[in-house]
């Protein structure tokens, strides 16, 4: 039996370094996965993950045990992602990141590459709320949970997901027509 996230988080907030380490190690991969879905590029995702790791000790004081730790953690990641986007004044940097990523990825797997390339690029073209929502839902999260992270209702999440799908479909159709 493992100690629950919430217990670890409370202990860490009280200054237990071992609990904090365990918590970070347990969730690092998931934070990175979500970071990738939110940013769509490996380099960006790595930076975002690092940001979250650096800030987490200070943030932890704000965890109050009223919700699941992971829900709280996803919110930290989503907020950090918003912050990064806002600060990234130079859009060119994004493009560069995408370019690098694409080269790497294509070398790795040509077939999946095309589809994913399209998906992630298409997601980048979505409005921010839709993209964040989709990223969370694609992370095997229920609509209710995603809503809690984003501070919106489960119904809104559902609407956003269908809206996102509609826009993706429209994009796909435009490309196929072209």
């Amino acid at each position: 039996m493992t100690v629950s996230d919430e217990t670890l988080a409370t202990a860490a907030a009280d200054g237990d370094a071992a609990a904090f380490s365990a918590l970070v190690e347990r969730h690092y991969d998931a934070v990175f996965r979500l970071s990738f879905r939110l940013t769509g590029a490996r380099a960006e995702a790595e930076d975002l993950t690092q940001d979250v790791c650096a800030a987490l000790p200070g943030k932890l004081g704000g965890f109050r045990g009223a919700s699941r730790f992971t829900t709280w953690l996803w919110r930290v990641v989503v907020n950090a992602a918003h912050d990064r986007r806002r600060r990234a004044a130079v859009r060119a940097r994004y493009a560069e990141g995408w370019g690098d990523w694409e080269v790497d990825r294509r070398a790795a797997d040509a077939e999946v590459a095309e589809a994913v390339d399209w998906l992630t690029q298409a997601m980048r073209a979505l409005p921010e709320e839709l993209r964040d929502t989709l990223a969370l839902v694609l992370d095997d999260m229920s609509h209710a949970e995603a809503g809690e992270v984003l501070g919106i209702s489960g119904g809104t999440v559902g609407w956003r997901v269908s809206e996102a799908k509609k826009q993706l479909r429209a994009m796909r159709a435009r490309e196929e027509d072209a």
């Binding site: 970070v24 996965r33 987490l56 200070g58 009223a66 990825r105 479909r169």
Partner: protein, 672 residues
């Protein structure tokens, strides 16, 4: 392409790369480090001592004790602001306070409120990025009071322009919302122009803490002349210890023993010593008088008076103020007092001098580019904009300050970095040894370093000492505006213009005349015998008009005060039969910037009646030994010290000596 969610999921799953193992390890290490740093900062400011407090504040203090650091810090500041409001009725009308919380009773409520919030969140000062507002969980509203959402700290930016914008918001957001008004009030009202009441610190007794650090040094032991006839030490013009002793006594406690450095207490006072004549930059006077606390021993009084060059002959001066703007500097007796102190100093500078300001907190930044010292408005404006917040990246600050001092350097100029801090260096180099090395290296560039200590609570006296001693400078402790006046105005020449570097003293006692001797104080300044003639060994520096006093207690041959038994088989007889000479005094110094030292020497002979100055120095040395609980004084106590000091006040135009007598009386009462 399917728009089915499961397909999208599968595509995404395939696309998501695995995290890089190395990157992962580095990130986790970073998270751990930040976690540890945060805990350290927390522990650093946690209040632990349970010294009883005066009635009115006891409840409030108890509440503060249970709070976590930032909350405690801000609440302490609120308490200070409250103290200010109580002590200085005028401040209620101060424009910056108006509209925040000028009413004392309300202030009490605010504090009580803060006390409830035991888990006041810790703002993330050192944090490199600014995440969005911390996630506020949709917590049930009926819940008991919870910590307010974590306040955000603007990332400290380099450059004056951005700092200006970032600073105020940082200062505000440091406080939980309820306290914002108080924190802001304290920061805003204590502007440069306003004079703090020296009495205010009596109302706001020392913050209680166990994080003060003082250098450890055993008192100098009695030496037997036949075994160790030579005593060598570096001069010391620091005065910080006296300031610390004073602030402790005024707050109603005896100072910690290791905070008492007798030479710094003795050297705090101006003495009427003979001015140097001729080319030498200073004149040593050596006299021998009776020891007040022991009729069977004598006191060798070594007095050094530095020359005072006329103002117009002084070389142009480049000063870089390196100001600690970390969160711990927020108390009224720290950053606000510092601003006032620097404002006092400005009129002492001329249009040939220039001033720059570097600040450091989470990161270092330049707050004022080099500016001619007579542009008062510009400099005061920059000072005014300084706000406290964040951790203490002392090393980065030092590096930037030294670099700036290097840029400002011109032909024939004197460059000096003046570090103003509460001594806390919790980011970057935090090991005094490593700092020493860095500064010793920078010293070679010819830039001097002075250290001014502010506030109590986490005063790192050991680090301040290490910095000043290794940076060719002076350490002073500033607890009131009158102390600032003494250091920054009355003695500013000494603090700014060096007249001699690496001043070492060596005394050889004559075993035919002196059986035992003991150097009083200078424990942290001892040098090896062979270092005296080694010009590569660093020692203390003397500024214009500085005075240095050193005292030896000696036991003449045949005196009943002799502690050690004579050797049964005697020592090898190589003593020159000049029993009228008690010993031989030698002093080495270097002219500023020179590599080779000059030697001054003279014999020590009996002299007659103790002059006023020597008697006062002896009284202070006795006072220091009483505070350190040393065993050499016998029955001699505070009453005798007070009588001796009272009889040797001399002119005392500024009342420093009268103040010392008051402190002795306080110590007498407290030690009972």
């Amino acid at each position: 392409m399917s728009d089915d969610l499961d397909d999208l999921k599968a595509m995404m799953q395939a696309a998501t790369p695995k995290p890089d193992a190395e990157k992962k390890a580095a990130d986790i290490a970073l998270a751990r480090k930040n976690f540890a740093d945060l805990q350290e900062a927390r522990d650093g400011a946690r209040q632990t001592s349970d010294r009883p407090k005066a009635g009115l504040f006891r409840g409030v203090t108890d509440m503060l004790m249970r709070m976590n650091t930032r909350g405690a810090l801000t609440a302490t500041t609120a308490l200070v602001a409250l103290g200010m409001v109580v002590v200085v009725p005028d401040w209620q009308n101060a424009p910056a306070l108006r509209g925040t919380q000028p009413v004392v009773t309300e202030a009490d409520d605010g504090l009580a409120d803060a006390g409830l919030r035991r888990e006041a969140p810790v703002p993330n000062a050192a944090e490199e990025l600014t995440l969005d507002a911390a996630p506020a969980e949709p917590a049930p509203t009926a819940e008991a009071p919870r910590p307010a959402p974590e306040p955000q700290m603007a990332k400290p930016e380099l450059g004056a322009e951005t700092r200006r914008q970032a600073a105020p918001s940082a200062a505000q957001s440091i406080a939980p919302r309820e306290l914002e008004g108080y924190a802001g009030g304290a920061a805003n009202t204590t502007t440069v122009g306003r004079i703090a009441q020296p009495d205010a610190d009596a109302a706001t007794a020392l913050p209680e803490s166990d994080t003060e650090a003082f250098p450890e040094a055993e008192p100098n032991a009695l030496k037997i002349t036949a075994e160790e006839p030579v005593s060598t030490f570096s001069i010391d013009v620091d005065t910080a210890s006296y300031g610390v002793v004073r602030s402790s006594l005024r707050a109603g406690t005896l100072p910690p023993k290791e905070a008492v450095r007798i030479e710094e207490m003795v050297n705090y006072f101006p003495y009427d010593y003979a001015a140097p004549e001729g080319d030498a930059p200073f004149a040593p006077t050596v006299s021998v008088t009776d020891t007040p606390w022991n009729p069977d021993t004598q006191l060798v009084h070594i007095a050094i008076q530095g020359e005072m060059p006329p103002v117009e002959d002084r070389p142009p001066l480049n000063i870089v103020f390196l100001i600690d703007t970390s969160g711990s500097m927020q108390a009224a007796n720290k950053l606000p007092l510092l601003k006032q102190s620097l404002a006092l100093m400005l009129p002492q500078l001329t249009e040939r001098d220039s001033v720059a300001i570097v600040t450091y907190a989470g990161s270092a930044g330049q707050a004022l580019a080099p500016t001619v010292a007579t542009e008062r408005e510009t400099i005061l404006g920059a000072l005014d904009r300084l706000e406290a917040g964040g951790s203490t990246a002392g090393q980065a600050g030092l590096q930037q300050a030294y670099a700036l001092a290097g840029e400002m350097r011109g032909e024939g100029d004197v460059s000096r970095v003046i570090l103003a801090t509460d001594g806390d260096f919790n980011v970057g180099i935090s090991d005094p040894e490593a700092l020493k090395e860095y500064i010793a290296q920078e010293r070679e560039s010819g830039t001097y370093l002075s250290v001014m200590g502010f506030g109590r609570g986490n005063l790192d006296d050991a680090t301040m000492q290490a910095l000043a001693q290794n940076g060719n400078g002076q350490a002073a402790y500033i607890d009131t505006l009158s102390e600032a006046q003494k250091v920054m105005v009355d003695q500013v020449s000494g603090a700014l213009y060096p007249i001699a570097d690496d001043v070492k003293i060596q005394v050889e006692f004559n075993p035919a005349a002196v059986v035992e001797y003991r150097l009083i104080g200078y424990e942290t300044r001892a040098l090896r015998r062979e270092d005296f003639n080694n010009d590569r060994v660093d020692a203390g520096d003397i500024g214009a008009g500085h005075q240095v006093t050193a005292l030896y207690e000696i036991t003449p041959v045949g005196s009943p005060a002799q502690m050690g038994d004579p050797l049964r088989y005697g020592a090898a007889e190589t003593v020159r039969a000049e029993a009228d000479e008690l010993g031989y005094f030698k002093l080495r110094y270097k002219a500023p910037g020179q590599d080779d030292s000059q030697l001054i020497e003279q014999p020590i002979v009996e002299s007659g009646e103790a002059v006023t100055e020597a008697r006062f120095a002896a009284a202070i040395a006795g006072f220091g030994q009483l505070l350190r609980d040393e065993t050499y004084l016998g029955d001699w106590g505070y009453a005798e010290a007070i009588a001796l000091a009272n009889g040797a006040k001399g002119e005392d135009p500024f009342g420093y000596r009268a103040e010392a007598v008051q402190l002795m009386r306080l110590a007498e009462s407290l030690s009972r």
